[in-house]
């Protein structure tokens, strides 16, 4: 029995997949927004002078990095509601999971970039009378941010792909939408290729965009 590739199936599935893709993008954007705030915060706590705050950030980062994202998603969607006595919207659970997860990795990126700035930079800042905060804000942060961009881009791409794990809690994102189409037309080959291409277009766009930003910042070095 020969395999009969039908490109028409691909074109027909696109409009439906675009609905899922919209949710994938929204979850990624909101999740990363939370992740960036969490990551910048806990990354800075990790290098603060207060030992308790360092420890606190450490516990968060280690417990996220040390457990699978699948387990984190299940815990937030199925576990937490039992303790809280209320149900969580799967979309909200998904955004939370992506945010919490990416936050831990972004924290390490932030910490690493800050620590990579030569101590002489902070000393020079303090030497002209800038306060600790001013030195961080005007001297260290702009240089660290620039060094973060490649790693941040990488994390954005990882988080975008991680949203596909949310099928386990029934979020109607791109992967889930693909599954649903296949359940009705049984054309797994064509549909999964289409889904894969859509992810690829998104991740390549992120990579291109960050490349552009990086070059742009380099000119103004």
């Amino acid at each position: 029995m020969g395999f009969d590739f039908k490109s028409s199936v691909m074109w027909e599935s696109v409009p439906i997949l675009l609905i899922g893709l919209k949710w994938t993008i929204l979850i990624t954007i909101f999740g990363l927004a939370i992740g960036f705030v969490l990551g910048a915060g806990s990354g800075l706590l990790k290098i603060s002078r207060n030992a308790f705050l360092r420890k606190l950030a450490g516990v968060y980062i280690e417990s996220i990095r040390g457990t699978p994202i699948m387990v984190q998603v299940m815990f937030i969607y199925f576990g937490l509601p039992m303790a809280l006595g209320m149900r969580i919207n799967p979309m909200v659970a998904g955004i939370l999971a992506i945010g919490l997860n990416s936050g831990a990795y972004i924290a390490e990126i932030v910490r690493g970039s800050f620590q990579s700035i030569e101590p002489g930079q902070a000393e020079a800042g303090r030497s002209i009378g800038l306060s600790h905060f001013q030195t961080m804000y005007y001297i260290i942060w702009p240089q660290a941010l620039k060094r973060m961009i490649p790693s941040l881009g990488n994390q954005f791409i990882i988080s975008l792909k991680d949203t596909s794990i949310l099928v386990v809690v029934g979020v109607g994102e791109l992967t889930r939408t693909g599954q649903e189409i296949i359940a009705s037309n049984f054309r797994a080959f064509e549909v999964w290729i289409t889904v894969a291409l859509m992810y690829l277009v998104m991740t390549l766009s992120i990579a291109k965009l960050l490349n552009y930003i990086e070059n742009k910042m380099d000119i103004n070095k």
Partner: protein
């Protein structure tokens, strides 16, 4: 101007400064020499509290740097620091390096700061480099921008931590020239350097340090022609 009494500085178990006493008067140029690890740079860094001191007192222009009531950011504008590695801000132009402190610490308006900044760059011979980023400057030019950056705060004293040690030999002169000019204008200067020529020409006093102590101090002529301590003799023999 600067008064140091019984200054002791330990890094953990390592005793870096073992009881330094030193008084530097207004307008004086003091050169500190000594082998690496003798505590020269640490002494300099204790003066503007880039290092906390373990015990003793450091008084800059009447302010005890370790006193909780002293505004340390203020002390640091009083005693400007120039580093071996320049430490220019790479994301800012030469002019922005100079004006940052004027705008953020001295609260000057940007146009006002720019006028002052350009004057200072002119003073160090770099008026034409105002809009250049540090990566396009030579080592000597970077160090001159760094000096201008410190001068912008109108410090009462300048601390130089091996300002020419990271430079190609042919670029040393341009930095020393700026420093000589400053001393002529009456700036109080403490300079850690091994530039004998500079010390002979400009210094009022040379201090020789070894293993955390000041072991000899004298005028440059006397210390170079007739060193008293064996350690000083051995050191001078090696750098000549």
């Amino acid at each position: 101007m600067i008064e140091i009494k019984d200054l002791i500085k330990n890094f953990g178990n390592l005793k870096v400064l073992k009881g330094i006493n030193l008084e530097i008067t207004q307008g004086e140029v003091t050169v500190i020499m000594g082998p690496s690890g003798s505590g020269k740079s640490t002494l300099l860094r204790c003066i503007n509290r880039l290092e906390d001191i373990t015990s003793g007192t450091v008084i800059v222009d009447g302010h005890d740097v370790m006193d909780k009531k002293t505004d340390i950011n203020f002390i640091r504008t009083e005693a400007g620091m120039v580093f071996q590695q320049f430490n220019l801000f790479p994301h800012k132009t030469a002019l922005e390096n100079v004006t940052l402190g004027l705008v953020k610490v001295r609260k000057k308006s940007t146009p006002e700061a720019n006028i002052l900044g350009k004057k200072l760059l002119e003073k160090v011979g770099l008026a034409d480099k105002a809009d250049t980023y540090p990566e396009h400057l030579s080592g000597g030019q970077k160090q001159r921008v760094a000096i201008a950056r410190s001068l912008a705060m109108r410090p009462k004293a300048m601390l130089f931590d091996e300002p020419t040690s990271a430079l190609d030999p042919e670029l040393v002169g341009e930095v020393l020239d700026v420093m000589k000019q400053l001393s002529c204008e009456g700036m109080t200067m403490v300079v850690v350097t091994h530039e004998m020529g500079f010390a002979k020409e400009v210094a009022d006093r040379v201090i020789f340090m070894d293993e955390g102590n000041i072991i000899e101090e004298n005028t440059p002529e006397k210390i170079f022609t007739n060193p008293q301590h064996d350690r000083t003799k051995a050191f001078l023999k090696n750098i000549l």
